[in-house]
């Protein structure tokens, strides 16, 4: 039992490090190589966890090899985009200027029912409302409607709207978040000053967010005695 426990720990740690090194792409949209790597790694990682006859090295070696291949291939593809078409699909235009590209649809093996379903899911009940439809590299369909069916923007309506600044978490569970403060160009002393000015101490706050302009939103702890909504500054 202790062997399985230790093996699980080792594999868990190795997978975490490898996924971290692979970057955010592994977590979000996947390219073919990324998907293959992720699937293989998850399969390989599970082997020594469940089978005591397999040494942990049998999983670590392939996992590290896959990591190296993944990093090297992304490096090569970034430097030499010409090779990208070898491992990565290109976007395909399915509807251009309202005209359906039947040949593309056939080669992608997408039925009209599937296309209509995708278009409906994006809020367009009729094919006639679509100006362009492009099947992206990640397999998602981008639908661009005809001007008559597109939602008007603020600028088209003549509405003046101010851009909302981005808020960052600068304090969480009473603990100061230095990365958050760094993002808005402030430091711990500034935060403590601002909190003191509003009559708060860090330990009485559940969360504090702030933006580049130094505006704060405070969420007090529910058990701190002072309840209520965020306190805007």
């Amino acid at each position: 039992m202790i062997t399985i426990f230790i093996r699980t720990l080792v594999i868990y740690l190795a997978l975490n490090i490898i996924m971290r090194l692979m970057g955010k792409r592994q977590i979000g949209e996947l390219e073919v190589t990324d998907l293959v790597t992720t699937l293989l790694i998850s399969e390989i990682a599970a082997l020594p966890v469940t089978d005591q006859d397999i040494p942990v090295a049998y999983a670590l070696i392939p996992m590290v090899t896959l990591l190296i291949l993944e990093v090297l291939s992304s490096m090569v593809l970034t430097r030499f985009p010409r090779f990208k078409s070898l491992v990565s699909a290109r976007p395909t235009v399915i509807i251009r200027n309202g005209r359906l590209n039947q040949r593309a649809l056939m080669s992608l093996r997408i039925s009209m029912e599937e296309l209509m379903s995708e278009i409906r899911q994006q809020g367009y009940p009729d094919l006639a409302q679509v100006q362009h439809a492009i099947l992206e590299k990640n397999g998602k369909l981008t639908v661009l409607p005809r001007a008559a069916f597109a939602q008007p923007t603020n600028s088209q309506l003549g509405v003046r709207a101010a851009d909302e600044p981005l808020m960052h978490v600068v304090l969480c569970n009473g603990v100061c978040s230095l990365p958050g403060l760094k993002l808005i160009g402030k430091d711990r002393a500034w935060l403590e000053r601002e909190l003191a000015r509003r009559g708060y101490t860090a330990d009485r706050l559940f969360c504090v967010t702030a933006n580049d302009a130094g505006e704060l939103r405070l969420i007090p702890r529910q058990d701190a005695g002072r309840h209520g909504k965020g306190d805007g500054a």
Partner: protein
Amino acid sequence: MKSFAASLILLAVMLGGMAWNAVYINRVADRLNAMLDAMPDSGDADSAQAAAAVREYWESNAPYVGLSVGYTVTDRVSEQTAVLAACAACGDFYGYRSALALLRDAIGDMRRLEQFSIENLL
């Protein structure tokens, strides 16, 4: 760039580790084979002493060999060294010869993954 550098370092460490491991496994296998070659053909008192030495050598190296060689193979080697020692101690000639042959076979399997060949790759 950090990922690239980290990958290169990992690659170097892994290749170094794999090379060292291959040398180590082959050395253990060579030593065991040499000890088996030097053993007498019959299961007498000398062979009992030699078989005990083989078993002792294997047991001191088995935990490290087991880090990279499947436990099925290492268990076979352990089993046959034990059988060899027992047969040599009680003078069982046929058991002794049989254990010797099976042990050589297990040692061959042990070093198989550490030797580059198309057969192993496939």
